[in-house]
Every structure is written in C-alpha cells, then in structure tokens.
C-alpha cells in the first residue's frame, strides 16, 4: 500500500493548539493505547476501534436510534440502553439521532486525508514556527501510518512533534522518530512496579526507548510528567524523574503537567465505570515541584 493510502483510526484533529510544541499547532489524535493509566482523561482513546459516545443529557428518548441499529443493540426507552458488546461502532444510530445525543468517536482516515486537514493551517504554522503534533492514544500503535504522516508533514516544510508513552517495539520507535523534530515523551513513574500498578505495564522498555530516541536518534526531547497527587507526586519520584531527564543530556526539558478533571463524564458516555477522581494540585504546589526538579539540574516548566 502506498504511504498516502495508509489508514488509522483518528478520534480528533485539533487545530489551534498552543501547548504541544513550538508555535501554533494542529494535534492529530490517534485511537488505541497499550496503557491504562488510572487517571486517563481520554478513555475514548484506549480502544483502536470506533466507539459510540452517548450524551444522556441531550437524549429525548425518541427511539430513532433503536430503529436504526442493524444489530438490535439498542433497547428503546426514555434512556435507551446500548448493549456495548453487540455494538460494532457502525454509527447508524448517530446518523439518525435528531438531538445529537449520539456521536461516533474514531474514524479511519488515510494519511492523505489527515494531511489535507492538518496542513490547512500551514500559513499560521509558518509565522509562529509551529506545525503538526501527533498524539493519541498512542501513535506508536500505528507505526507505518504515523511515519508516513510525519514524513508527509515534513515534506510540506512543517515542523513535526510526537507525543508518546514510548511503550512499543524498537522498530516502531525507529520508524516513527526518524521523522520527528521534537519528542514529547511521557514518564509516569520511575519505579517499574509502581508504574505497572498505575498504568498496567512496566517501565524498563519505556525508559530504554526514551534514551534511544534522545541519544541514538538525536531527537530534541521534552520529558512530560503528569502530576497526579497520591500516585506519582512524591518528592522522591519527582527527583528521580528529574535526574532521568537530566541524564539524557543538555537540551532536554521537563514539563510538569498538573492533572485536571476535563475527562470527567467521558467514561459514562462510553458506557464504562467512572474513573477515580484525583485532586488537582494548586499553582503553589506545582511551583514547589518545579523548583525541586530544577535543583536536580533539568530546566523544568509547569505546563506544556
């Protein structure tokens, strides 16, 4: 298959992003992620397949969805029940819903289609020094697609960045990061056991990949650490993370991202059990952590 015809599930192409790399950027979110972080704000990105989102507050209970479902997965009623096991994410119900209470999340798009949309704002990238950021989910789940997309953006003269958890085979990493001008790499915890408890996977391979991206592939890197109170915000872990970032060499930054509650309600819309709630660290606490990190020899900032 030719590169422009490669396809992957995309759940959002977000223009006008200011905090995901230099300048004004368009962020492409791919669906599918090998991690299951307890605090995840984007549960719709976990599964690579298309998924139905249901906004109960918009639903009028008209029953149009039940009639449209080819699999008979919807039981009509004031609050129609969707049997998620039978739902294939075909989107027939979303098409007929007059209230906009049903929306299909995730659409297979080709590299050419994504590029056409993502490069629409190219004029604004040029003036601001921005470009395209690939995010997810996890872009490394779709290595051929991701590599082709980044190569296409670069060929168009646009700066490229990849936001990733780095949990992937080395070949995928090599394939994708060959086309990245900037790596935004998550480190959720420095202790492998705790990492597994928080995200479902150990961290040795992740840290190895990060070293490889920074040192062997020479991609400018920012380490991004989500700050989740009670999970990874101990001073010990922060220091370890900062020291790790510092060990990658000069020009590696550390971004401390305070957790937020903007993913609230998403689980319910997907028919999943609610995610646990974490308190949001205040500006004062974030500044404390930032200073602590800088003391370990890495330039640190709050936010991306």
């Amino acid at each position: 298959m030719s590169a422009p015809a490669l396809a992957a599930p995309v759940f959002n192409i977000q223009p006008f992003c200011l905090h995901d790399g230099p300048g004004i950027r368009t962020v492409v979110f791919l669906k599918g992620c090998p991690l299951r972080c307890l605090w995840c704000a984007n549960p719709e990105s976990h599964d690579a397949g298309p998924q139905l989102l249901y906004y109960k507050e918009k639903c009028t209970g008209c029953g149009a969805c039940a009639g449209a479902c080819p699999r008979g997965a919807i039981t009509p009623g004031l609050r129609p029940e969707t049997d998620r096991r039978r739902c294939t994410g075909c989107g027939a119900c979303a098409k007929v819903c007059p209230a906009g209470a049903r929306e299909l999340c995730g659409r297979r798009m080709t590299v050419a289609e994504v590029l056409e949309e993502a490069l629409g704002d190219r004029l604004f990238f040029e003036e601001s020094g921005g470009g395209v950021t690939l995010s997810g989910g996890e872009p490394l789940v779709h290595p051929a697609f991701s590599a082709a997309l980044l190569a296409g953006a670069r060929a168009a003269g646009v700066h490229t960045a990849v936001e990733s958890c780095s949990y992937a085979p080395r070949e995928a990493v090599d394939l994708v990061y060959a086309h990245a001008d900037l790596a935004l790499l998550d480190v959720k915890h420095m202790d492998s056991g705790t990492h597994r408890r928080l995200t479902g996977v150990p961290n040795e391979g992740i840290l190895e990949n990060i070293r490889h991206i920074r040192r062997d592939l020479g991609v400018p890197t920012a380490i991004r650490m989500p700050v989740i109170p009670g999970c990874n915000d101990s001073e010990e872990n922060l220091r370890a993370t900062a020291r790790f970032a510092a060990s990658l060499g000069p020009d590696t930054a550390l971004h401390l991202l305070p957790c937020h509650r903007l993913g609230a309600g998403k689980a319910e819309r997907l028919g999943l059990p609610p995610a646990p709630e974490y308190s949001v660290p205040g500006a004062g606490r974030m500044e404390e952590l930032r200073a602590l990190a800088e003391a370990c020899g890495v330039p640190a900032q709050v936010g991306g």
């Binding site: 977000q14 223009p15 006008f16 200011l18 995901d20 300048g23 004029l123 601001s128 500006a283």
Partner: protein
Amino acid sequence: MTDRVLRMKESLRVNKYPLCVELFRLANESLDRTGGEPMLLRRSKLHAHILDNITVFIEPEDLLCGSGASKPFGLEMQYEYGVWTKDEVEALKSEIYTISPEDEEELYRLNERFAGNAANQNLMEAMGKSLGDSERLWPFMKSGVILPPWKDRRGGSGGGFAMSGYGLGPGFSLVCVDYALVLEKGARSIIEEAKACLRDLRYTTPDAVEKRNFWEGVVIVFEAWIRFAHRYADLCEALAGEEKDPRRASELREMGRICRKVPEYPAETFREALQSFWFTFLMVCPSPTSTAGRFDQYMYPYYRRDVDEGRITDGEVLELLEILRCKVMKLNRVSGKANRQKNAGMAKWYNWTVGGQKADGTDASNELSYLLLEAAKETHLPHHTVTLRVHRGTPDELMVKALECVRSGLGMPAFLGDESYIRFFTEQSETNRLTVEQARDYCATGCVDGNVQAETRTQVAVFFIIPHAMDIALHGGWCRYTKERVGIDVGDVTKMESFEEFKAAVFREIAYLMGMANERLNVEMIAERELFPDVFRSALMHGGVKAGKDMFSRRFPFENGAVLGAVGGVNAGNGLYAVKKLVFDEKKYTMAQLLEALDADWEGYEDMRREFRAVPKYGNAVREVDEMVAEVYRFHADTCLSLPCVYGDTLKPNAISISAHQPGGALTGATPDGRKGGEILADASLSPDHGQDTHGPLAVFRSAMTVDQDAYQGTLMNMKFHPSAMGTRADLEKLASMIKTYLTHGGKHVQFNVVDRAEMEDAKVRPEAHPELVVRVAGYSAYFTRLPESIQDEVIERTSQSL
C-alpha cells in the same frame, strides 16, 4: 497610576450628566445675526461666537486646559440637529442625563425664538424633498434596505433627521486633521497664510468669491481660537493668584504660560505640544467620530527632545496620557434617542492609532506607542480607543504589549493590517489613488474606517442590508416588510434553470437597490456641503488654506466622500450556497418549495430548515461556501465602485456593521441559510454567523482570507477569548503570530474580547447568547457552549483561579 490620576479617575463616577444649553444658545444667537450672509461666513462667525463666549473652567488637579462643554461632565445640545422637542428632552432625562429647570426652560424659549434658524431644518427639508417626494425613491426609503426605514416623507424615521441614526449626520465626519501643522507652525501662521491669499486674490475665476469667503472665515475662526486659549491663560493666572498650595499655583502658572503660547505659536516642548493638540482636538470633537490619528508619530519629536534634554520623564508622560484619557471620558455629545439606542450606551469613537509604518516603509512604532497602550491598560478606561497598525515589521514586543492590554479585559487595541489598508488607497483606479508613501500615513477614523491624515475624508456612511435586498429579488421586487413594490422584477425565480441564472437575477436586484442607496447618500452630501461648511478642519487638510474651499467642496487625489456598508454579506453568501447545493445541484427541493418555506418563516418546514442549516457555512474553511461569501462581497464592492459620488469619483465599499445587523435582521424575513425572519444577522462583516463556526479561530481566519478585503474602507472581525488562552508570554507571542499571519495575508482587522467569569456563567444558562465564546480547555481552545456542563464548571472554576 499617580494619585492625581487615581483621583481624576474616581471623579469620573457620576450618576447623571448635565445637559447644557450654552452652545445651543450661542449658535442660534449667531445664526440669528448672520441671516442672509454666505454659509461659509455664517458658520465661521458661529464658531467664533462660541469660542469667545462659552464658559471656560479648569477642574482641580487638571494639567490640560479645555473641556467639551460649559460645565464639568456636561453635554452641549447640538444645534445641527435642529429644535430639541420636549419628548426628546424627556427621553434624555429618563436616561443618564439631567438638566436644570432654568436650562430646560431656556431651551424651550430658544426653540421658539430660533425656530427658523436651525440650519438642520433645511437639511431635513432638502432630503425630504428629494427622497420623500420621489415616487421611485420613497418606497425604497421606507423599505429599510438602508437603515432606518423612513416613516415620514419630510425626512426621517419618525422623529426627524436627528434620529435617523445610520447616516453619519452633520457632525459625524470621518477625518483626521493635520495636527502636526498646528504643532509645528501654529495658528498664527495659518492666519497669515489666509491673509496672504486674500491679498493675492484676483477675481478671475468663478470660485473667487467662495475663496474670499473661505479665507475670511479662516481668519475669523483661527483668531477666535487664539482668544479662546488666552481666556484659559487668563483663568489660569487668576486661579494661580488665589491658590494656597504653592505647587498647584506653579502648575497653574505654567498652564497659563502654555495657553498664552499655543496654539498661536509653534509648540516646543511635549507639554506645549499636548496642550496644542488638545485645543485642536476639541475644535473637531463636536463629532463623536473625531480621531487623533497617529498621535505617536506627530507627538514623538517633542517627546524625544524633552526626554533627551531631561525636561520630562516617561512617568510624567504616562501621567499626562492618563489625564488625557480621563478628559476624553468626559467628552460627550447628545444625539437623538433612536440614535442613542442603536449605538448602545455612550458610544464614542475617539480613535488614537499607534504603530504601523513610516513613509519609507520602516517600522514607525516608538516609546509613545507603548506608553499609550500602558495608559489604556493602567487606567482601564474604555475611551479613548487605541488601534494598532500591524505590518510585517511590527516588533513582537509591541504585539505582546498590545495583547497584554487586550488581556486586561479592555478589548483594545483593535489590530489593523497595513497591507490591505494601504492597497485600498493605492490600487483602486488610475484616477483615484495615492502614492504608497502617502497611503502609509493612514489611520483609523471612526471605528476602523481608513482615511489618510489630512489627505482623505468621509462625509456619509449608510448601511445596506444585503439579505433584505436578496429577499426583494426572490419576491419580484416586492418588499415583505412594507408590502410594497420597491425593486425591479428580475424574473420568476421558480422558473430559472441554472444557479448562475438565479444568482445573476439576485445580483441584478441588489445592484438596482444599491443605485438608489447611492442617490440617498448623494442627496445628504449635497445638502450637508451646503449647510455645514467648516473652515477650521478644512484649513487643516493638506493644502487646505491655499485651496480656499471647504473640504467637502474639494476633490481630493483619493476621493473617499461616501461609503456604503455591507451588512449580512455572510448570511447572503451562506444562503446562496444552500440554494446552489439543495435546489440546483442535488435537486432535493424546488425553488417554489423554498419560497413557500421562507414565506411561512419555516413554520411547518422544520426538517427542511434543518437541512438548509446543515449545509456547510462560512467560517469553517470550507472553500465552496467561503467563495460564495467572497463573491457577494466582491459584487458589493464592484457595484459601489461603479456608482457616481457627487463629491467626485465613486461610492466606496465598507463592511463594518457596528450594530446594524440587529435592526437589519429585525426587518429581514426568513433567509435560505436557515435563519428565521427577524433574527439577528451575522455580526461585523467577516465574523461567521452566530455559532456556525465549529473549527476554531484559524478556520475563521482562513474563511475571511478568501474574501478580497482590499477594496473595502474597513472590514470587521470580532473574536472572543478566554484569558486562559493568553496566560503566558509564550501564549501571547503565539497569538501575536496568528494575528500577524491574518493581517499580512489579506486581513484588514481583528479585535478580541476577553471574557470573564460572569459571561461564562451566563453562557451556561443562555448558550444561544454566547455562541462565539472561546475558552481554553486542556491543551486547546474550544467553544464554551459546546462543552459538557462538567467541563464548563471546571473552566469557570479555573478562571477564577487564574485571574
């Protein structure tokens, strides 16, 4: 802010503004005495009489002499609007104005005594005679295709001309005079020049007498202006004599010295230049559209020299600029009640332009540009307006400074694109253009209407409601609002076979109606040129004294006399595109069905309406529909540029709706873009229709860049931002680059409103009222009303933290 500015700012909080009758009395006294004389001399003597007799006063702590009225915070009743009827005065009193019983009594007495004087009576008569008595134009005036719909053949929308609202009216001229001339040469040299012209006058041309009248008028007015300044000098000296505080006494003596010197003689220091500027500004400021133009340019030499020679510090300059803001806050003007409603509150457009380019194309910004922005930010007063001219070489630092000012919640400055503004003046036609060096001296007059300082001016501006005109085309020339025949019959639209044929028919009708709008503008211009000559501002145009003519009787190298504003161009383009797609391309509906649905205001056609609404709309970077909107604007512009203007050349296109999209929408029936009859039209001229842009601000900019804006005197784009999108310096730099991209790729104007918690709370309850509210969510910005409630709450919570 200094304590002095703080106290002055505090003193701005008054509940009621006093109505003053002095100007009205003095003007009418003068007109009474000068009956039968040429209007140039009558108006000159009128101005001199006011300058010699109006009460002068100096408020505590003020460092600048001169006010807009005979009482502090006062509003002088304008004589140009004719007689002030009791119901007009009662309406004023019920708002934020008050009038003393003696003054009110005197006003009615003056009305009676001078009923025949008021020059504006003649304006109403002249316009009524031409427009009301014409069987062709009268239905058009009533239709509301240009606002407001007239109700009275004798000239007006029901309350006389003063209330007709959307014309600029006699006092509203869009012009920036040559302040530098006054600062550098002084009034005395202007008088000497006029006297020399009188000496050299030979009666060999048909306009010789007109010129004599003009030069005599110049001498009369400028001499009176010098006496006016000397009255302030006398007052300063008297107050200094009584003053117990030695510091204040010395301030007053210094102010007196300055008023003895300027505007009569050239200014030599920043303080002298500022006083000279302010006296000049007060002379042109009966108009609420008066502009200070490029203040940071003509004031800079005085600033530079004083700072270099240690006569003034930046702190002292800032204080003076802040006092200036307080003084502008107190300027006011009374206009009819209908006009006040349309301009929502105390609308004033006292515009200071900063930045931009010098004549040679290099960046013009300087320390004063920053200090003006700082004064706006620090005082947080809505007036005067500051507008920033942006070109490729505008320093990032200045952009960031401007955005800090926007972020503070002021919504200022607006950003203007030099490239497109300059092309308006340089590329229009062989016979009507300026050199690029001249055009680089443009500034915002009024709102964002471009005029070049002392080189071009605009007298009349009226709004044209395009969707209303389109509706008339669909109905065989009949107006649904007045149920009368207004336009021409462009053929039965239900029988048209192609979209091109349909579109051509609609455009033919619009062009016909625009032709009548142009006649309406010309009628007002002819009448106003006759009735309201003004030697002061005319002498302060380039070559003004030598020309010997009022500025509205001169043909300028770039003639910009009248503009016709396009309102609802976005609705019209969206509507045409929906017709193309659903009626002609996909043939889902017939034109007959569409007409039925529109006539029924979509009642009973809800599914059909939903489909017409679902067709892609302007503002989402969808090429086909954006190009349709661009074609509507192109057509409006081309048509304007084909209609003769009586001041010379042609009518010029403009596209700034101010608030006309509201009354314009109120009288426009249902439209094919899915809009119901009576609903508001799209805001500004390039903002998407309410809530129809779903792809963020960059898509809106890309849509707007499809429209050829160069032909327009001004266009408008309003955006709303949440402060969280403007948190760090890096954020501001990115926004600055976004603005620059738009303004260097065909964009003309953009301004931002920054929203606060209260607005977001309201947006939760009434989302329909806040469709364009942009907030920052996680890593991106989104439309607030599209967010789930939980996230709305989160964003609101976060705002209160970040502010």
